[in-house]
Every structure is written in structure tokens, then in C-alpha cells.
Symmetry: C2
Subunit: 243 residues, 2 copies
DNA sequence: GGAACACGAAACATCCGAGGTCTGTTGCAG
DNA sequence: CTGCAACAGACCTCGGATGTTTCGTGTTCC
């Protein structure tokens, strides 16, 4: 195993074992390199990798620190990963979102504060009648994020946020607007909001299901998949991971 | 922005734009470094970071390649991230699993092949009466993974796999065995299996819910949280990241 | 003729040392 | 006490030298 990977594991262990707590500062490059038994160059590779997944945070002129390690921070790094996926796997991501979003919406109907619900309503009314695509995407993102946040579970919130990354969503919206489905989507958003405001978790869940399923259905058609929407290819699925 | 981060974005864009397809080989270090306008050292940091999240795969003596970019590969990197979380956030992860697992189980009842269901049953019968903790964890992991795989959605499968990482699960099992809950868990596993075999998605979903909720309940008590199980701390959540 | 071995080229792994840039602190002047 | 300037510490970037691994090629032996 390359020394860099060893260094990554060592640093990981130092954090998990508690030797390095969130917010702690790491020894300086030269010192840590000597302690782990490798050169500064190799150590920097390890640090950079841990930086990408938001475990470490380096500040030039200051030092290298362990981040807060909060779920939202670490899960946010997943957005980076989701960006790599192509159109043919977007449906799989959307299917997961179809599971999580209704659950989050139902939780939000139970746990959201009255103030947050008011803000949710404001968000809806802020949208103009003929918004730009950018405004639509931004508003849609905020709306769903606020609900996810209202579920009270930071992991669930971050996961949902990552699943429908800006990239994928922008592309979807671009297509939706071309078919004039904006009004329909807005109606559903309003219905979700009202269900949450009425503290009706099951109603909110149902509307969320309808909402996501609608997007899924549209996307499925747009991608040219004429299969039964409820039955993904079960037999046609090759056994991967063979080797 | 550091040149290394720029390089990461550049490489990312090359992949997303299709200039580099899955399985493609990157130009050699020196060449790519010159093309991106940085030194080999800095480029190596970028490559190492992309390597950690399984986007690139470097083989010494051969070259650097783009991985298959399949969901399971990329989501597997999340296991690394989950490892960093402490006990106080385990409940949040478990809550998400409580949402996903029943859905996956229901899907499995619909889509799993007869052969796979047979294997699932074999898995259950393979477990001895007084298994070691290691055997229990391994068996439990395989059981749930096989169901997740049977959902037909690779994203859902990988996500579930990451959520209940070996570390957290091992710790949970260690505790469960101490209270003699093994028999109960096995009964639930059997019930889930039978529901899937009977092609009863709703029954399978319910058993899965019961199963995960049981673990959640036990863990909540073990952690000493006497709060209302259905209401996470919504108001008590401090606004971190202030600075 | 085919297979095993030896050699060499290509590419990554690791290290080193020098110069640059940014940040936080310290000390002085107002 | 406040504001500015110089200083030291820490990370950033670079380019080259050397080691290690892999793959392809050509040769030799059976």
C-alpha cells in the first residue's frame, strides 16, 4: 500500500480515536511528516484528499484543522460525487429521492416551527408569474431544502440536498419549463406547504409523493424509457462485480 | 483558489463533458501537468484526492484511469465518510435507514429473482445457534445487503450499505448480543425473508420497519436518550458554523 | 513451434530543497 | 487605546533526481 494511503488511514485513525478532535489543529506539515514517516509531498497528497471530503480544512498562513465533522459538512461532499453521474443513472437517484422526500415532508409537518412554515409560504409567494429558469431552480431548491431541514434530521437533509444536485435539477427544470409544467409544479408546492401548515403529516407525505413521482414520470418519458414505471429492469440486470 | 483545486475541477469537467469517458486513460503526469499549467507535485495532489472518492484509479507502472463511475463504486466512498461520525449522530443515520430499508425490502419482494430468494433463505439457515459476534455481523450484513441489492436500484443498495457501516453495526451488535436479543432479531429476519418469498411487498415493508425500529429503539435506550423517540431535538439545535 | 525468461521503455511513487504567498502577532508611534 | 508596519510561522508551488512497478518485446530453451 502506498505511503500516502497509509498516511490517510493514520490521520483518519487519529481523528476516530479522539486523538484529534473536531476543530483541533494538526501538527505542522514538516513535523507530522516526520512523525508519520514520509515526505512532506506525500503528506500533502493525503491532506488534500481528506480536504476534498471536508474532513480537514487547511488555511494558508495559519495551519491545518479538523473540521466540525458535522453530518451536513461531510455529506455535502457527496454533491461532488453525484455530479459525476450520467443521465442513465439519474432515475435511480430520483427513485431514492422519491423514498426520502415524502418521509422528510411528513417529518417536517410534525417538527417545523411556525416561523419556518411562514418562511416557507413566503418563499412560494416570492416566485413571479413568469420566472426565469434560474429563478425557478433557485426557488425550487430552497423550497425543498427548507422542508428537508424542517425534518429535524441533518443527515436526511444533507442527503436529500446532495441527491438532487443543482446540475441534475437544472437540467430537469429546463425540460419541464419547455412543456409548461411550471403551473402544475407550483400547485403541488402550494399543496405541500398547506399540508405542512395544517400539521397533516400524511397529507404532506402524499403530496410529496405525487410531486416527486410526477417529476420521475416526466423524466422517464423524456429519456425515452417506455417500460412499466413501477417495475425497473429486474431480470435484465446483469450481475456486476463478477470479477 | 489553489492551483490544485483548479486542477481537480478541470479534471472533473473533462470527465463530465465526456472528454474523458469511464475506463479512459489520462495523459501521463508530466503531460497533463503541463496542459493544466501546474507542477507534477500539485497535479498529484489533485489526482490523489479524486482517487480517494474512486473517480480515478492509478496503477503504478501503467497509468491513471477513469473508473467505471458506477453508482456503487462512487457511493462506496461514502463509507469512508460515515466512519468519521460519532455515537451522537448514529441515531440520525439510523433514522434515514429506517426510511430506506422498508422501501428497499418492499421493492425486493417485487423484483428479487427466485434464485436470489433461495440464497437469502440459505443465508438464514447457515447461521448457527450460538454464533460469534463476527459471524452475526457478517451474516446480518449479507442479509440486508442481499435485500438491498434485490431492490434493483444500485443507488439505493449502495446508500444502505454505506449508512450502516461495519463499524457502527459491529458496535450495535456487540451490545445487542449482551442483552440476548439475537433470537428476536433472527425471528424478524425470518419474517422478512418469508414475506419476500411470498411476494408480499407490504408485509415485507412492515417487518423491515419493525426490525429497524427495534434496533433504533434499543440504541436510543443504550445511548441514554430518554426523549420522545419520534421527536428529535428541533429547537435545541445550535447554529454552528457561526465564524 | 511454443513457452519461459531477460531486458528495456514507460509511468507512477517518493523524496528533497528552494522560493513564494498568506496570516496572525508583535511592537512602535500617534 | 488605536492604527500601522515589520516579523515570524505555516502553507503553496515548483522542478528535478531516484526508486519501483508494469507492460511489451525479443531471445532462448525445450
Amino acid at each position: 500500500m502506498p505511503v500516502t494511503d497509509v498516511a490517510i488511514d493514520k490521520i483518519k485513525d487519529m481523528i476516530i480515536s479522539g486523538e484529534l478532535a473536531p476543530g483541533d489543529r494538526l501538527p505542522k506539515e514538516a513535523e507530522l511528516a516526520q512523525r508519520l514517516g514520509l515526505s512532506r509531498s506525500s503528506l500533502r497528497e493525503a491532506v488534500k484528499a481528506l480536504c476534498l471530503i471536508r474532513v480537514l480544512d487547511v488555511r494558508q498562513g495559519d495551519g491545518t484543522y479538523v473540521t466540525s465533522l458535522e453530518p451536513n459538512l461531510l455529506l455535502d461532499a457527496m454533491t461532488f460525487v453525484v455530479d459525476f453521474h450520467r443521465d442513465d443513472t439519474v432515475l435511480d437517484f430520483l427513485a431514492v429521492r422519491r423514498i426520502l422526500e415524502p418521509a422528510a415532508t411528513a417529518l417536517a409537518a410534525l417538527h417545523m416551527s411556525d416561523d419556518d412554515i411562514t418562511e416557507l409560504g413566503t418563499l412560494l409567494s416570492e416566485l413571479e408569474d413568469s420566472p426565469t429558469v434560474e429563478a425557478l431552480v433557485a426557488n425550487d431548491l430552497q423550497f425543498h431544502r427548507k422542508i428537508a431541514d424542517g425534518s429535524g434530521n441533518p443527515v436526511l437533509c444533507s442527503l436529500l440536498d446532495s441527491l438532487s444536485g443543482p446540475t441534475a435539477r437544472a437540467r430537469i427544470w429546463r425540460g419541464l419549463t419547455q412543456e409548461g409544467a411550471v403551473a402544475k409544479t407550483r400547485e403541488q408546492h402550494t399543496a405541500i406547504y398547506e399540508a405542512i401548515a395544517a400539521r397533516e403529516p400524511e397529507l404532506a407525505r402524499s403530496w410529496a409523493t405525487v410531486h416527486v413521482a410526477g417529476v420521475e414520470q416526466w423524466l422517464r418519458n423524456a429519456l425515452g424509457t417506455a417500460d412499466d414505471p413501477t417495475v425497473p429492469d429486474s431480470d435484465a440486470e446483469p450481475a456486476a462485480e463478477a470479477s
